[in-house]
């Protein structure tokens, strides 16, 4: 199938993109790797597409003392290949390397993936799990950037906190503290397919961050409360998940519990972060 008609423009700047969003008929597109199949199937019919993959502000990567700010149009492959700094050592690189296929990673972007918010997408859980923040710019010309914690940014299946005229400009990924550990485990039957279940664990004592995140739930990732009780073994993954995601069908609940068990096994042997 071929897409329905749409207009098209390449935005050269953030303000270009922002003015195109006024009126709510147009849609931003970066790599087109998630939107493209939907366009071809005529499942989505934006009046116009605005290509933001070359907007300089969205391509920039800034290193700050405690975090790195990734422009939304940085590709998965750039992260995978280490062309941009990885604040987490290699955690982001490893996650990027297992997104879909190389040809998709060459065009797909971190911001595009998060704004699309497919519940089974890697960045959706990994960014939530790493306590990343979404950087959002509103429509008003003088609007200041807002930062939104990722767990609040992703609000449901294909749903985000972005307003109709907002742009996700960047993602801030905090640098882990000395000795931090991380594990991310997803179950895919086949390379590159959407995960059936996934779990991520961050233990970052220096920054007082301990987080267990469950992904591929058909909606936004779930954060497990009191993760320490799982890490110290006083609660089993199944017990924790029966409370955290009780409405999942039995098989899904089971697979997520396994994903969490596997992530727990991995974190035991995970290398400690050192800057």
């Amino acid at each position: 199938m071929k897409p329905a008609l749409f207009d098209f423009a390449v935005a050269q700047s953030l303000s270009d993109a922002q003015s195109a969003l006024l009126g709510g008929q147009n849609k931003l597109v970066s790599g087109n790797q998630s939107l493209g199949p939907m366009l071809n199937l005529r499942l989505t019919r934006p009046a116009g597409l605005v290509d933001i993959s070359r907007v300089p502000e969205l391509r920039a990567v800034e290193e700050h003392e405690n975090y790195v700010r990734f422009g939304a149009a940085v590709t998965h492959a750039e992260i995978e290949d280490g062309e941009v700094p990885d604040p987490t050592g290699h955690w982001m690189r490893n996650a990027a390397a297992n997104i879909a296929y190389r040809a998709v990673r060459n065009r797909g972007t971190i911001g595009g993936s998060l704004a699309h918010a497919d519940p089974a997408a890697d960045w959706v859980i990994v960014m939530t799990g790493l306590c990343a923040m979404a950087v959002v710019k509103g429509a008003a010309p003088d609007a200041t950037l807002r930062t939104i914690p990722m767990e609040e940014f992703i609000t449901g299946p294909y749903s985000t906190a972005l307003g109709p005229e907002d742009i996700l400009t960047a993602i801030d990924v905090p640098k882990p503290g000395q000795g931090a550990r991380w594990s991310y485990w997803k179950y895919t039957r086949q390379v590159g397919e959407f995960a059936k279940a996934s779990a991520a664990i961050l233990i970052d004592p220096a920054n007082n961050r301990t987080r267990i995140t469950i992904g591929a739930l058909g909606r936004q990732p779930a954060l497990i409360s009191n993760p320490e009780t799982i890490l110290d073994g006083s609660k089993s993954p199944m017990e924790a998940l029966s409370v955290a995601i009780p409405d999942q069908p039995a098989t899904a609940l089971h697979l997520h519990a396994v994903a969490l068990s596997r992530a727990l096994e991995q974190i035991k042997v995970a290398k400690e972060f050192s800057a």
Binding site: M1, K2, P37, T251, L255
Partner: protein
């Protein structure tokens, strides 16, 4: 032996691992598939397809001022629907409309044809058409299709069944001595064949020649021509069908499409070339499917493992229509006749139904019913072995047809031509290191378990007139013909009615000709895929090409060789009987003359030939049939080692061995390629591929992200070992091998998984073996164990 091997390596004839003649054009992007062809004034065709599985069409309305671009069924004057009527008694025929205008019977059925100068614009047009439906309840479950309360697809039928058949051979007598009776239920999922290129066509009307030319991505151009002539009520002479490069078939391209009939009609009506290229969504939701079987099967055996009899009730979900030319009944006919497999048994009973459901028609996919049948029988056999506490290899060895019994006529009257089945089993057991795996298994604890599984089967291929007539298939193959023409430059042009779309016939048929008359394959050109140039053939299907077209090329070359010898004899003053044709030369003793010179003389220097020269020339057509048309029986044993992650239900293939006997191999590289490719598809059947439907008959996979094909990373490095027992029936001892690889994997892998899980007594009985199915089998086994424990 070493010398013989050496000669084979050096030769370019039969047995040589010759690189393929067709490769260069593909590797350089110079293949010419149907979507690559453009014609001046060409229009693109898109179809409006039914969104519902079962509905009456209440009204249809075209957008304003589109009468010349949008067409409904009522606009196709004088066009008949597609009918494929089985010759078997009791068959209920269906008529598949070209464009449905009264009733739709599956999602994706074409309702309107829309033309525009680009595909996108044709799709824009399709969106604007109004159709009002009255939705009817859908029949989606083949096991309930025949129930009284089930709505009828074809309202003049008594029940949703194309055909019911019964076979009973000595059943009651055979089971009298049974010590064990083992019952199982098995299911194989509905699949899409998914060649990477879909169907596609360009229809062109030539006013001057009064000729309709259809370029179509088909495996059987001559059959498409016959079908078109029937539906369009035209003479064969007015129709030419060309199959250009075709991007894989596997059975999917062996069917006459309503889309083909429709495009041809419109091309003639509008006098414009019309192109339709099936897209992936159309393929997945609307194209013909395959493989959906359900078995209730019972095995009867003696305590020593002797298999006495098999009793089976099988249902094949044939979908909404009987597709042309194989009909809705080929699968069930195969089930009933092939189920006994490579084994000796005393009794057999089988009842089959080909039921109609609100799904696309079913079509024979590589392996046809053999894949399902092998799965049912081989997994049952392991069940019997476990019950009797004997090994899977022992129960097979005990019941296989023995080499000294060959040729062997089995219980369903299949004539096994040659082979050593137990040897294949033995080699596979050794190659997979079954003993080693058993030792490895002893030390296992925890929830990751390895298992090993076997399957063995034989594959009837290139079977002919008597078999297909007996199965009631509307298209019965007879003699296969080939044309061999020596060109004036000493080259050879071969023309065959079959089509090569990955089978490598451009190379292998040249190898056969090379063996017969010594012309270098470089100078041999295969013409195929054009009804105007090639002799009639039922086409490429049924693992028949290398036997039938290969045999025909052999016959034609033999005849051509006689003619060449006669002329060469005259030119060399030698007895034609003494002349050998080798290396492009005709030689008798010390005198030689090039075949090129012979050709040049015949065509351009006839003054050198005597007046009583044979006037029939160097252009011959010859026909070929195997000495008995019951088919060659290649056979194989698959052995697989798997790892089952019991928490995820995930299956990993650790090692895979195939011991295969293709008879005489024309090109071992090509045989390997067919086996690897078939095995990958069989692994797809075993683990991944499933076209699900919901209760309203909606297909639940419209993209390749929903319908999972096997990837490079899903497959182990498959190891193939060859045996080479020539067939006594075929010209060179070759056997059909094209489908074999796809038959064994579901059975072998299921047996391996069940072996891995045997310590808890779990068994999977349905393919694909998804994590959900494996987990459910484990859960059932462990739950029943623990509840038994609770009670105790």
């Amino acid at each position: 032996m070493a010398d013989g091997q050496d000669v084979k390596e050096r030769s370019k004839g039969i047995g040589a691992r010759l690189m393929r003649k067709e490769d260069d054009r593909y590797l350089n992007g110079k293949g010419r598939y149907v979507a690559d062809i453009r014609m001046p004034g060409m229009l693109e065709l898109a179809f409006l397809r039914s969104p519902l599985a079962h509905a009456r069409i209440i009204s249809q309305a075209k957008p304003d001022q589109t009468d010349s671009w949008v067409f409904f069924g009522r606009d196709l004057d004088g066009v008949s629907g597609i009918r494929a009527v089985s010759g078997l008694p009791g068959f209920r025929p269906s008529t598949q409309p070209i464009l449905a205008d009264e009733k739709v019977r599956h999602v994706g059925e074409p309702i309107a044809a829309c033309l525009a100068d680009s595909r996108a614009k044709a799709e824009d047009l399709a969106e604007k058409i109004d159709v009002v439906f009255d939705e009817l309840p859908a029949v989606h479950d083949m096991t309930k299709a025949r129930d009284k309360e089930s709505p009828l697809l074809h309202e003049d039928w008594e029940e949703n069944s194309f055909l019911e058949s019964n076979a009973d051979i000595n059943f009651e007598a055979a089971i009298a001595e049974a010590d064990v009776i083992i019952k199982r239920s098995f299911k194989t999922a509905r699949q899409c064949m998914a060649p990477i290129e879909g169907r596609g066509l360009i229809a062109v009307w030539d006013r001057n020649l009064e000729l309709l030319t259809l370029y179509s991505a088909t495996q059987m151009p001559h059959i498409v021509r016959t079908g078109l002539a029937d539906c369009l009520n035209m003479d064969h002479g007015q129709i030419r069908v060309i199959a250009p490069d075709v991007g894989g078939g596997f059975g999917y391209k062996g069917i006459l499409l309503a889309e083909e009939v429709c495009a041809c009609y419109l091309a003639m009506k509008l006098d414009r070339p019309i192109r339709w290229i099936e897209d992936r969504r159309e393929h997945l939701i609307a194209g013909a499917n395959c493989r959906e079987h359900s078995y209730e099967i019972t095995g009867y055996a003696k305590a020593d493992g002797e298999l006495l009899a098999v009793d089976c009730t099988a249902i094949v979900d044939s979908g909404a229509y009987s597709s042309y030319p194989f009909s809705a009944c080929l699968e069930a006919a195969q089930v009933a006749s092939i189920l006994p497999g490579p084994y000796v048994m005393k009794g057999f009973r089988c009842k089959t139904w080909s039921v109609a459901t609100n799904k696309p028609p079913i079509l024979p996919f590589r392996g046809v019913a053999r894949t399902g049948v092998c799965f049912a029988l081989e997994v049952l056999l392991d069940g019997i072995a476990r019950e009797l506490k004997i090994t899977p290899e022992a129960i097979r060895a005990r019941n296989l047809v023995q080499p000294e019994q060959m040729p062997f006529t089995n219980i369903t009257n299949k004539f096994f031509d040659s082979g050593d089945y137990p040897e294949a089993l033995k080699r596979a057991v050794t190659a997979i290191d079954l003993d080693g795996i058993r030792k490895e298994q002893k030390g296992q604890t925890g929830r990751t378990r390895i298992g090993v599984g076997l399957s063995i089967f034989c594959e009837q291929g290139a079977h002919g007139t008597s078999v297909y007539h007996g199965w009631g298939i509307p298209m019965v193959p007879g003699f296969e013909q080939a044309t061999a023409r020596l060109t004036p430059d000493g080259g050879l042009e071969l023309r065959v009615g079959v089509h090569s779309h990955g089978q490598s016939l451009e190379t292998t048929l040249a190898q056969i000709a090379n063996t017969e008359i010594g012309i270098d394959p470089e100078k041999i050109k295969l013409v195929h895929g054009d009804t105007a140039y090639t002799p009639y053939s039922t086409g490429t299907w049924g693992s028949r090409c290398i036997v039938m077209a290969g045999g025909a090329v052999g016959s034609a070359c033999e005849l051509l060789g006689e003619r060449i010898r006669k002329i060469a004899g005259h030119l060399m003053q030698a007895d034609p009987a003494d002349i050998k044709l080798e290396g492009g030369m005709a030689s008798a003793g010390r005198s030689t003359i090039s075949i090129e010179e012979v050709a040049r003389t015949w065509y351009l220097k006839p003054q050198l030939l005597p007046d009583d020269v044979d006037p029939r020339g160097l252009d011959v057509v010859a026909g070929y049939k195997t000495t008995k048309d019951t088919g060659t029986f290649s056979y194989a044993c698959h052995a697989v080692k798997v790892e089952v992650d019991m928490d995820l239900g995930h299956i990993r293939l650790l090692d895979y061995v195939i011991v295969e006997d293709a008879g005489t191999m024309i090109n071992p590289m090509v045989v390997d390629g067919q086996v690897y490719g078939g095995a990958a598809q069989g692994i797809g059947t075993a683990l991944f591929e499933e076209m699900c439907f919901d209760a309203s008959g909606q297909p639940l996979a419209s993209t390749l992200a929903d319908y999972h094909l096997p990837l490079a990373s899903d497959l182990p490095n498959i190891r193939i070992e060859h045996m080479e027992t020539p067939s006594p029936l075929s010209r060179f001892g070759q056997k059909g091998i094209g489908e074999s690889g796809a038959i064994g994997p579901p059975a072998a892998i299921a047996n391996a998984v069940n072996d891995a899980l045997s310590f808890i007594g779990a068994e999977v009985a349905e393919v694909p073996m998804t994590p959900e199915r494996v987990l459910s089998a484990i859960a059932q086994a462990e739950f029943s164990k623990t509840t038994e424990g609770d009670v105790a």
